[in-house]
């Protein structure tokens, strides 16, 4: 009870109502939406989830990672590989997958933070590790090499092995996204969360008031890597195929960063709003470019939309909406 009180303490009542309505809507959404609508909503939730995971590192602790595909890739590959080779289901495999991603995150984090790399330099280190791993997986037979790893497509519902139709994957990703939302709120309202914000604003001043900077940054990257690995596992079983070229691509890492940056870094709702905006734009532009039959047009619209957002709403879309409608969540 006191945990619940702490979680919702200080939140305006109307915001809580809105949240409740949103949750109910999401729970019943599959009955309201068609097949296409559900697939779009699944994408939104996926990017919201993985965006929240990335936001913990960049939005809260201020550490720019452009190599988060590493954790999604490692997680996805391990869970898929265990299932493919040994028939070990993802509910068990996910523990190994998350542990491996946390280990990878610890290595990147320890090396980067130990040597006080920050900003672009740290970002490049994360890219380098991700690319390095991509090439390694290209040559690793167990993971299928550059030819990829394929899971048998199986529409019969087998929840124990995370096999089934979109509905199953919808509720799993909804649970992950909603759980992470609560987790982020709990983290922000804790000592650790405040320490992260202090590190983001000024690491030297933070350390002077007793913040164990290295330890806090390590926890941030480990939590973020663990959640990203979950997203990777979910993604691997949803799409049933994995290629190093896409699993560890820099483009994938960048995709993870867009929803939180566009929605509003460091906010709870930013990654979710950003995911809605991005996926929505993506779908609209896909339809538009199909009208014109020109490949690349979709991406041009997309690029233009990004340009407009970053030029006119550099702090993100959500803080602006929150301000206008009185939801009261600002970037902290």
């Amino acid at each position: 009870m006191s945990l619940l009180a702490r979680l919702i303490g200080g939140v305006p009542a109307r915001s809580l109502w809105c949240l409740g309505v949103l949750l109910v809507l999401l729970l019943v959404a599959p009955t309201l939406l068609g097949k296409y609508g559900l697939s779009v909503l699944i994408l939104v939730l996926y990017f919201a989830f993985v965006g929240q995971a990335w936001n913990i590192m960049m939005g809260f602790a201020g550490q720019l990672s452009l190599g988060h595909a590493l954790y999604a890739g490692v997680g996805g590959y391990i869970a898929a590989g265990l299932f493919f080779h040994y028939g070990i289901g993802p509910w068990a495999g996910v523990f190994v997958a998350v542990a491996a991603a946390v280990a990878a995150g610890s290595i990147v984090g320890y090396l980067g933070f130990r040597f006080s790399l920050a900003g672009v330099y740290f970002a490049l280190l994360t890219i380098a590790f991700s690319e390095f791993t991509r090439i390694a997986f290209d040559h690793w037979g167990w993971a299928g090499g550059s030819g990829g790893l394929f899971l048998k497509v199986d529409a019969t519902s087998d929840i124990l092995n995370l096999r089934g139709g979109p509905l199953l994957f919808y509720y799993v990703i909804l649970a992950l996204a909603a759980g992470t939302f609560v987790l982020c709120r709990a983290l922000l309202e804790s000592r650790l969360g405040r320490y992260w914000l202090a590190i983001r604003e000024d690491p030297e001043a933070a350390q002077a008031v007793g913040v164990p900077v290295l330890r806090c940054k390590m926890i941030a990257i480990m939590i973020s890597a663990a959640l990203t690995a979950l997203a990777g596992v979910w993604n691997a079983f949803y799409y049933n195929n994995l290629f190093p070229e896409t699993a560890f691509a820099m483009g994938r890492s960048i995709e993870f960063t867009l929803a939180p940056i566009i929605g509003g870094l460091g906010t709870l709702f930013g990654p979710i709003v950003g995911a809605v905006v991005l996926t929505g734009l993506g779908e609209i532009f896909t339809d538009l470019s199909e009208v014109f039959h020109i490949s690349g047009l979709k991406q041009i619209f997309y690029g233009l939309a990004l340009l407009v957002i970053v030029m006119y709403r550099p702090a993100g879309v959500w803080p602006w909406i929150a301000d206008r409608f009185g939801f009261g969540e600002k970037r902290r």
């Binding site: 320490y195 604003e201 000024d202 030297e204 933070a206 007793g210 913040v211 970037r331």
Partner: protein, 243 residues
Amino acid sequence: MSGARLELDGIGKSFRGLRAVHDVSFDVPAGAINALIGPNGAGKTTIFNMIAGVYRPDAGSVRLDGRQVSGLRPDLVCDAGVGRTFQIVKPFKGLSVLENVTVGALHRRPALPDARAYAADILMQLGLHDRRHQAAESLTLPDRKRLEVARALATEPKLLLLDEVMAGLRPTEIDVMVTFLQELNSRTGLTILLIEHVMRAVMALASNIVVVSYGEKIAEGTPAEIARHQAVLDVYLGEAEPA
């Protein structure tokens, strides 16, 4: 809180062969207010940074109540009971004034509501309570200086290191800060070491003054003694009239 005794024993530090501080020793008794003065570039801030754990001294040791703190990381030095302000203020710009101080308070009060209440109390004492919901980056320089002091105090130190907190303040504001520090010291017994160019504040606050020049201690004594000290006069007259 109560004060701790600070002992500096022959500390020295060089940067790329350049000697910034050499063989400096002095004590600050528990509960005292002492000042560290000297011309710009004399090594005062380097001495602070060695006490606070930012730099590890090349030689000598720093002890707090007899316990060696030199060589510890800054957060562990804070843990041992040293609070410090920065000469070039370093607020957590994006956070509110209250949250800035709360981060400091969390050090000894892990629960967020406790820390926030304690932080609010300190802001009240420093006259920043009205501005507690403002973003720290919107504060004026004098307010930022006060915020530095508040945030350091929130960690409940036994020794407070103040690096030029009076600089840029108007005379009336200096008097307010002097009164606050005197009152704080007499109420809690907190030991204070301040680096200061504002002589009026130094003379009012410090029971003992250490003078450094070119990285070495050249004099130590009461304000009256220092005012008459020939080496000190030479150093200051050679540079400029002290403010």
